[in-house]
Symmetry: C2
Subunit: 362 residues, 2 copies
DNA sequence: TCCGGATCTGACAACGTTGTCTAGGCTCTA
DNA sequence: TAGAGCCTAGACAACGTTGTCAGATCCGGA
């Protein structure tokens, strides 16, 4: 491990001639130059290099140029780990989400990134895969890296493990679902109201037997949406047969089976309310193969939903706004806002496209 | 800035009673306990705490318990910045992608994350938004954090700025597109072959005037796909009218306008090959409003593409495999593999669903 | 009783950076 | 010409951790 790898560090400086004779001071492979090396090469003090690197004032143009030359010649890049250790602040925030690949969370992720960028912070993120233990691991790993703040889409329902971290100064905002067993900032969509509106929409079109397929009841949004369903049914004076309600994992297999079950029997449901984008996608697939026309309203919008036939009526959340709001709240905290924990609830929007306006066939 | 915030650090240890009387040793807000503090409280040496924290051997059960108690009592968490500084390795990799929110890159992102996790590494990622300058900023920011390795989806076409970093030991793998102006590991999809196959499919169904709408020619995949289009046309003995070819930004506005342009006039195209998922989505929207039946094959699969009518025929890439392959290659490098740069090209798969099998209407 | 060796423990330096403090040279004014 | 004041520059300590090394303790066997 002491490979000699010259590799001329020719850089972008469009300086005229004097192509320095590549007398690389034998930078061992993997051993990066430090400010000390730069200082030695430029014939200046360590601190002067620091000043140049950070654009601090108090360096003459001539000295600065010497330092810059040494920097490019050596291929120096400041070691942010050391900087972070020294300064205490990391200029980075962590985002724990459920699944990086879930199309619903992607715009949220991106929105958080944009806000972070605007504040000069780097984003570190990771997927909990709906596993509380993994959520915890990730969040604590971020804390060990001393992120300045944390945005969490909860997978678990007990977040007291974060209390020491929060007490130690790591600002934390929960998004999409509230924190479990503790009081903290949270930015949510109106799951209850949205589901209620969606189900009411179906009831208004004459449906009396409406099915509900959602995520596991442990998940706050799933429970809230079910509550919205029940409220809408009650509002419409409709009884709920418990065989019309199904909560559980959102795997295609389960959703498919449950959908088919609800459509079978002597008194099948004539309409379906699906609790999130994954459920809706599977339900659409099942319904496409069923001769009967079954009405459908789904929570969360889908790409291309407008192009299906019938086009899918949805209760849309603004995922990007969710992320933006949470990130802004986080940076407000980082800037010292000292208000009590806030809970923001963003409205949902019913987008009628056709599938929710089908009338029951009897 | 010396707020007193007691906040008992009660932890998860399910110890029987003795709810410690919350005598938090007044941890100043924002000032985290260090190993020194833990050592002082446990009455042991600094290094012993380090041993316990890292599970190193050579500590008696009794001493270990004392240290553990102090750790939970103080809410200590190891500062990874300091650890990284000391150890040199960060156990993290960086991923520069085009857009966190693009559904095509989401599975790639997730696959990289899973591989990183399997290797005990953390993933830091960010969106370049197709801006070469931003790609550079991000990649160098990751380097400053001393990631062990870097996976880049190139936005720019000159990556020599990474040479000093690579020389300094940061393993780098490019994915989806090759590096510009330098030789490096790359994992790609067979854009040329895929486009050729897709266009040949259209030609085989009797189309002679086939349009091509793709991304900006600066982007390697866009250029390759266009090359595939031309090859397929030549193979089929079909002339190409340059008005059937359009490369540029993939904004809905431009794609809409170009699609409409190609469908107008005396000799409109009867089939369309779209160069990526965003273009396809917009084209589908436009075609849905056109009375004439226009055949369509798109590069990249779309969620719900199978449910449209006609269902959309696509040339699918395996984005997850792209990510997995790249990440595995990266870790192979990190484990010391010293082969010359490798370029891996993954096959694409034509999925015929209907829209590509429409015959030309005349 | 004493010694060799194994086991446990802690003092100390180092990682690369930044904040503080002081020295030296210069200019400007009285 | 002396003194005050400014500007540039560098020495040094500190951030929190880990690797090295050496000291302390305890065991069994001679």
């Amino acid at each position: 491990m002491l490979d000699v790898t010259p590799h001329a560090p020719g850089k972008d400086e469009p300086v005229p001639s004097s192509a320095q004779p590549t007398r690389s001071p034998s930078p061992r492979y993997g051993a990066r130059p430090t400010m000390k090396d730069v200082a030695a090469r430029a014939g200046v003090g360590l601190k002067t290099v620091s000043r140049v690197v950070n654009g601090e004032p108090g360096v003459t143009a001539d000295t600065e140029r010497r330092v810059q030359d040494a920097i490019t010649a050596l291929g120096f890049r400041r070691n942010d780990s050391a900087r972070i250790l020294r300064k205490g602040r990391t200029a980075s925030i962590g985002l724990v989400l459920e699944d990086l690949a879930d199309p619903f969370y992607a715009p949220l992720n991106r929105a958080v990134e944009e806000v972070a960028r605007a504040h000069g912070a780097l984003l570190i993120n990771g997927s909990s895969a709906e596993d509380p233990e993994r959520e915890r691991e990730l969040a604590l790993a971020f804390c060990a890296r001393r992120v300045d703040g944390l945005i969490v889409i909860p997978a678990g329902d007990d977040h007291r493990y974060l209390e020491p971290e929060i007490a130690a100064g790591i600002a934390t905002v929960f998004v999409d679902r509230p924190a479990g067993q503790m009081d903290a900032d949270a930015v949510l969509s109106d799951s209850f109201g949205g589901a209620r509106e969606g189900v009411a929409h179906l009831a208004a079109h004459g449906h009396r037997r409406i099915g509900f397929i959602g995520d596991r009841p442990r998940i706050h949004t799933a429970a809230e949406r079910l509550r919205g369903y029940r409220a809408a049914m009650a509002d419409a004076g409709l009884p709920v047969d418990e065989s019309w309600v199904s909560l559980g994992p959102t795997t295609p297999e389960r959703v498919r089976a449950e959908t088919e079950r609800m459509l079978a029997g002597p008194a099948p449901v004539t309409a379906l309310f699906t609790g999130n984008n994954r459920v809706t996608a599977t339900a659409v697939r099942v319904l496409a193969r069923v001769p009967r026309r079954v009405a459908l309203v789904g929570f969360d919008d889908l790409e291309l939903a407008d192009l299906l036939s019938p086009a899918v009526t949805v209760v849309a959340q603004d995922a990007a706004r969710l992320g933006r709001t949470a990130a802004e709240q986080l940076f407000r905290r980082l800037d010292g806002a000292d208000e009590p924990p806030r809970r923001v609830v963003l409205p949902t929007r019913l987008i009628a496209r056709g599938s929710g306006e089908l009338r029951p066939e009897e």
